[in-house]
């Protein structure tokens, strides 16, 4: 297994609807990442693209359509796919392109342009349900999340107000993020009293519809050393997919996230993640998901992440806890699905390299984790980065 370093990253703004085409968004993010890394496209051996369903951009073979904007022309180029988990999964995928010895440098690009879908991007999600036994019921996307959230709340007796605090925290953190779409100061009352979408999911507990892209440059140890400087390294990767029969599962606990985390912890030789992970970006498309995922990641006991939240354990300026979603997450920065996941991995890179500016956490962070989730609430993707110690 060869070591893999992070050389640079780039983002576009996250927007409700962009003028840019998907290709143009890819180019904007990829060019920014190359510039950050001090490289040109000629230095890149291979390209990995991440984007969630074709149904948003409204382009079949979307990976092929986006490839020249992502810098893939004439190169080994592939699009890998694990639904909503795709953004963070770009790091494992880029990692194996290099760790295998096949390539020395890899550009990973994640894009989502959700705004083309009419009458509303949410409509594209209907076709995620089982085509035989679920779609004919007249499903909509919010159902599964509200069902899972309700089960989680019921199992552990979590009040709605506590979950709302995730949205308050993340929207506030996002005020310092230059890409952000829906940042701001909100009160718990505003969140809880916002429009009921699908109880217990309220409008301000849902991440928005977003267009945007993100990119990162990864390289082998040999390449990174030759380039010089201090680097952030990919120390562990994990991914795990649970059964597609989601109604057969325990909805109160994300076992697949635990499995993915354990795979990554093992690779990173982490024994006690609560001590060894210093900053975390769990996936937060809905407010409850951040808490659900922190438990799956073994950073809190089952049902205890909400209590930690009340204690300020996940706050950005904590000195004794683990800052969670210092970027502002999907609830604050926006949710261009795959790009949002990669934005989270990029935040860990910024935090560990001291480039997070106003968002820089107060704790001295040597190691951080980003996680995403998707499909029919069944996939966990995890990546751990660390700095040289």
């Amino acid at each position: 297994m060869r070591k893999v370093a992070v050389l640079g990253a780039g983002l576009t703004r996250f927007m409700r609807r962009s003028l840019e085409t998907g290709r143009e968004l890819c180019w904007e993010a990829a060019a920014a990442a190359l510039q950050d890394a001090g490289l040109t496209l000629a230095d890149i051996d291979c390209v990995v693209l991440g984007t969630a369903p074709d149904a948003f951009d409204g382009v079949h073979l979307k990976g092929e359509y986006l490839l020249d904007g992502a810098g893939g022309k004439g190169k080994p180029y592939v699009r890998v796919y694990v639904g909503g988990g795709t953004g963070v999964f770009m790091v494992p995928a880029g990692w194996w392109h290099i760790a295998s010895g096949a390539f020395n440098t890899c550009l990973i690009v994640a894009e989502e342009k959700m705004s083309p879908t009419q009458p509303h991007p949410q409509g594209a999600f209907n076709a995620i349900y089982d085509q035989f036994t679920e779609r004919p019921l007249g499903v909509n996307l919010l159902w599964i999340f509200s069902l899972e959230m309700h089960r989680y709340m019921q199992t552990y007796g979590i009040p709605l107000e506590t979950i709302a605090k995730v949205a308050v925290k993340n929207k506030k953190n996002a005020k310092d993020h230059p890409a952000s779409q829906v940042a701001g100061d909100f009160t718990v009352e505003q969140i809880v009293n916002s429009e009921v979408m699908a109880y217990p999911v309220m409008r301000l507990m849902v991440s928005p519809v977003t267009d945007g892209a993100a990119a990162m440059v990864l390289a082998s140890e040999e390449f990174a050393k030759r380039k010089g400087g201090k680097h952030v390294w990919v120390e562990g990767v994990g991914w795990n997919l649970d059964t597609s029969y989601w109604t057969n599962r325990d909805l109160a606990y994300p076992q697949y996230v635990e499995n993915a985390a354990r795979m990554a912890y093992k690779m990173a030789r982490i024994k006690d993640p609560r001590k060894e992970i210093h900053v975390v970006e769990p996936y937060d498309p809905f407010a409850y998901k951040e808490l659900h995922h922190l438990e799956g990641l073994q950073l809190a006991d089952k049902g205890q992440a909400p209590r930690r939240l009340e204690e300020g354990f996940w706050d950005r300026d904590t000195t004794t806890g683990i800052p969670s979603s210092p970027s502002g997450g999907l609830l604050g920065v926006g949710n261009p699905i795959a790009a949002a996941g990669l934005m989270k991995a990029i935040e860990i890179y910024y935090q560990l390299s001291g480039k997070a500016g106003a968002r820089q956490i107060r704790r001295n962070a040597k190691r951080g984790l980003a996680q995403a989730w998707g499909d029919l609430m069944q996939v966990g993707t995890v990546m751990i980065m660390g700095v040289e110690r």
Binding site: P53, A55, H60, L61, P76, V80, V82, A93
Partner: protein, 383 residues
């Protein structure tokens, strides 16, 4: 490096135009059962899974959701590649070489018969600003390519039609094939014109079916009993999908992928060192275009060599002994897995009436279809 990567199990279903009695899950379960039995593994031995899938073809948004159960891969590191079978082998190869997995399963299937408006679906791949609004059937891209390829290479329309004659005939000896037939060059040329010079019999018709492979590195092979077929090289290249700036006459992606693959496998004179090749033949001309791009014929010579019988079963370099997509049916991205299955059969000496004598090394060349310029090359050997 984790040692050579080998295919230790290959599972399939028969290919057919329609398959109403089996859901996609049931097709995949059948192929997986065969593959695992051959490899001598149980799902507990599987470290990771790579699946192929494209949402608009599956009819499911985020189709990777529906991968794990029928493979016995619930709660495993499973991911999907929106790519062809060779790219799938590439991902498996890297997972095995990185050491993160010792045994990897690769799955691909087609339920093309379930798509009610296939041309509408494929048209969704065209650029929504500069190309798609014309409202043309996406076959026009192949029509433009074929015309330019014939113009640049000097290959004739009759020679291209001969590809369909050869492949459908080869398919007569392949029990999996959905479209085996004896047809004549005239029948191909005089069939319904679709996007001239492309006619109906020059297009591989779609089929349903599933393939599952088990791949292992040196450590993984210790747990398997299947007869190994080694992956000597696997490469994939994308040229631009942007129609205006692509090369209309050449398969540049194959030229580049082949150069890398030959280097990786240490082949100096591939035409001599390969015993057979399975190349993408989604349309008749693609077989010839790909053979030229692979450097297995001089530029412009593929048609004449085909007419001389060089590429026949029993010729100097058998091409598509399986019957190709023209004879077996087109499975979209899983077509390359059908080709891979043929390569495994040939190298194990299990190809029956289509067996290429003393087959020691073979090549699989894939293409992702219109409007893409993406394809891969895999080189497989018995040792």
């Amino acid at each position: 490096m984790a040692g050579k990567v080998a295919i230790v199990g290959a599972g399939y279903t028969s290919l057919r135009a329609v398959s109403p009695e089996a859901s996609f899950r049931e097709l995949v379960f059948e192929a997986a059962t065969r593959a695992y039995q051959e490899a001598g593994i149980t799902p507990a031995d599987i470290d990771s899974v790579v699946a192929l899938g494209e949402d608009y073809r599956e009819g499911t948004c985020i189709c990777d959701e529906y991968v794990p159960d029928q493979l016995g891969a619930v709660q495993k590191p499973v991911h999907t590649v929106t790519g062809d079978g060779v790219q799938g082998v590439g991902m498996a190869w890297m997972l095995l070489q990185s050491g993160v997995a010792d045994i990897v399963v690769l799955e691909g299937h087609s339920k093309a018969s379930n798509i009610r408006h296939p041309a509408h679906v494929e048209a969704m791949a065209l650029d929504p600003t500069y190309v798609r609004p014309h409202g043309w059937n996406p076959l026009f891209v192949a029509g433009l390519e074929m015309r330019r390829f014939l113009h640049d290479s000097g290959v004739t329309a009759r020679q291209a039609a001969q590809v369909a004659v050869k492949n459908k005939r080869n398919a007569l000896a392949n029990p999996l094939a959905a479209y085996p037939a004896e047809v004549t060059v005239e029948q191909v040329l005089n069939s319904q014109p679709l996007a001239e010079p492309l006619t109906e019999l020059a297009v591989a018709p779609p089929a349903d079916g599933a393939f599952v492979f088990v791949l292992a590195n040196a450590a993984g092979r210790k747990k398997c009993r299947g007869r190994p077929v080694y992956v000597e090289a696997v490469t994939w290249i994308s040229e631009t999908c942007n129609l205006p700036t692509r090369d209309w006459g050449r398969a540049v992606y194959t030229e580049r992928a082949a150069a890398r693959a030959y280097e990786m496998a240490g082949l100096k004179n591939p035409a001599e060192e390969l015993d057979f090749v399975e190349v993408d033949d989604a349309y008749t001309y693609k077989e010839l275009q790909h053979l030229e791009a692979l450097g297995l014929t001089a530029r412009g010579q593929s048609g004449q060599m085909l007419e001389r019988g060089t590429f026949d079963l029993g010729g100097q370099l058998p091409v598509n002994p399986s019957g190709g997509s023209l004879g077996c049916g087109h499975l979209h991205d899983a077509s390359a897995l059908r080709a891979l299955w043929e390569a495994v059969c040939q190298l194990r000496g299990e190809a029956g009436r289509r067996q290429v004598p003393k087959a020691r090394r073979g090549l699989v060349c894939s293409w992702r279809g219109v409007p893409t310029a993406t394809g891969g090359v895999a080189i497989l050997s018995r040792r």
